[in-house]
Amino acid sequence: MSGQKARRTDWYALSWRVPLIVWQGLFFVGPLLFMIAMSFFIVKNYRMEAAFDWGNWIKTLGRPIFWDSYFLTLRLAFGATILTTLFAFPASFFLSFHASETFRRWAVFFLIIPFFTSYLVRIFAWQVILAQQGVINAGLSLFGLGPYTMLNTMFGTMIGYLTLCLPLAVILQTFALNGVDRRLVEAAHNLGCGKFHTIFAVILPLAKTGFVVAAVFCFILSFGDFVAPYYLGGSKPPTLSIMIIDTSKSGQQWPRAAVVALMMIVTLMGVAFSAIAYAYRRRR
């Protein structure tokens, strides 16, 4: 009887699954397959023609500047992820363990507010703040300091990445810490574990999954971001996202841009799957 039940199609459960499957099929798997095919196309007179030509892969991956750009993007994204995680943690720890319920609600609300404004607009606002004659340098000049060059540098790029990722990381970390069983924290204290040691021995291991997910989001957003390295980093040197723009602009080499994009997707998938596997390792 139970065997018959198991074989019967569960239409209710399926109705919840199908929209997601259709969505992912239409907007992820479909375009991905097309992009893979496109990476073998050729361009003649600014028009793409279907073909099976390895030339785009050989040309793109054979250029040293691709690999320079690849490792630079990787370094920047890892850097942004580490910095975001470190900067977000004190805020999320305070919100979760020390702030009142009301304060926490308001804080989360204010962390969401930046997303109401276009990221591009926020980046242009940073240009005004970071410029040599901008707000920060004007403030520093009162103390006889500066002016310092902050725009069109790695520092500028990193500020952009933090603008993009920090609010999200604080929110995700806060939710992860909220899920930590307070009784275990108290038990650790009762057993003589110091406050700092409790954070590393009890709280962080319990909230590991949420922290890893937050970090993965930071990495994905930073790795693919075009706006921060272009408008705050001065495209100097270019990241992979800028390389996609440059490649597609010149001679409409979309197939070569597709090669760069596929390399990015493979990297992102590798990092994301590894991180998730690590996050859930102990639960298995």
Partner: protein
Amino acid sequence: MSSILVPTRRALLKATAASALAMPFVSRAWAAVTEINMLAWYGHGEPDVVGEFEAANNVKFKPKYYAGGDNMLALIAQSPPGTYDVILSDAEFVQQLNAAGYIEELNAADYPFDDMVHEDFKKFPGHWKDGKLYSVMVRFGLLGVSYNTKAVSDAEAESYKCFWKPELKGKVGHFDWHLPNLGQISLFNGNGKNLWNLDKGQWDKVKATAKTLRPQVGGFFDYGGTFNGLKTGEMLAMAGIGDWITGVLERDGAPVKSVIPKEGGVQFTESYSIGKGSSKAAIVKKFIQYMLSPEGQVKSANMAAYPANIVTNKGRKALQDKDPKEAKRSNQVDGAALDPVKLIKDGRVHYRDIPKQQSLEDWNDFWQEYKSA
């Protein structure tokens, strides 16, 4: 009791009947608006340029903006014939539009060629083929040294050498397009009118010279970034641009300007064509004529997005009469030392073109390497 707020039944019926009778005319008027699909650089389809023409001719422009000739060609190549009624192109790409059969032949008698400010503009390279006209030049601009007047003196700006000035380290910006930047380096190397026709040795030298400039470079920017960089003083000199960007800032009082250095400058040229297969060729022809009229030329010169120079004598006179301040600022007055027409006649400005002995891809590949250096 009757008022506007509480109408009687008769008043309500009258109003309803009047509205019903008026509606067909209203809807007919709406229906009669002709949509013109435009492919152009940003700003050409905006109300400050086309608003009056739209109102006078009951048309509505639907602009599709591009950035760069490659981008324009790709947009056309990927669209069915007849998609774009009017196409604004940089002159060096007109011949490619024509070769691919994307534009209609024009009748030269429809346009004021006799009134052009320079003889070359009547038979502009690439606009004619086998004696047939395919595109009409409507505006042009000059690319040279753009600089912050507080950081670079006028005397220093007379040579591209100012980009290498030690005080400008990290403060020289590039408009992110290989063609005008490498063209300027080619001019700096003394290639003059052969700036696009480089043999291997000359091309290698251009690359080597460019690499010496790289440590000075503070960033590579699109239109918005270039604009902001100069406005905030973050960039004190900029290669690859001209008055089309500094002019907008200068009008707002920013201490920036553009000049043509002694090594020469590059001219960009914008021309209108009628898209192949357009069903609105008649009204598009009228629009091109409007843009070449004195009124249209003044609008083009004052375009909010980016200014450019006038191509007809009557247009130039109209600008001097209607907006003498802008005419003076842009040196479009007779006798001005930096009169753009005079600079062309003196051979100090060269028409922008595509590389003759290398491919665009070669130039772009080097540009990417240069950016990554």
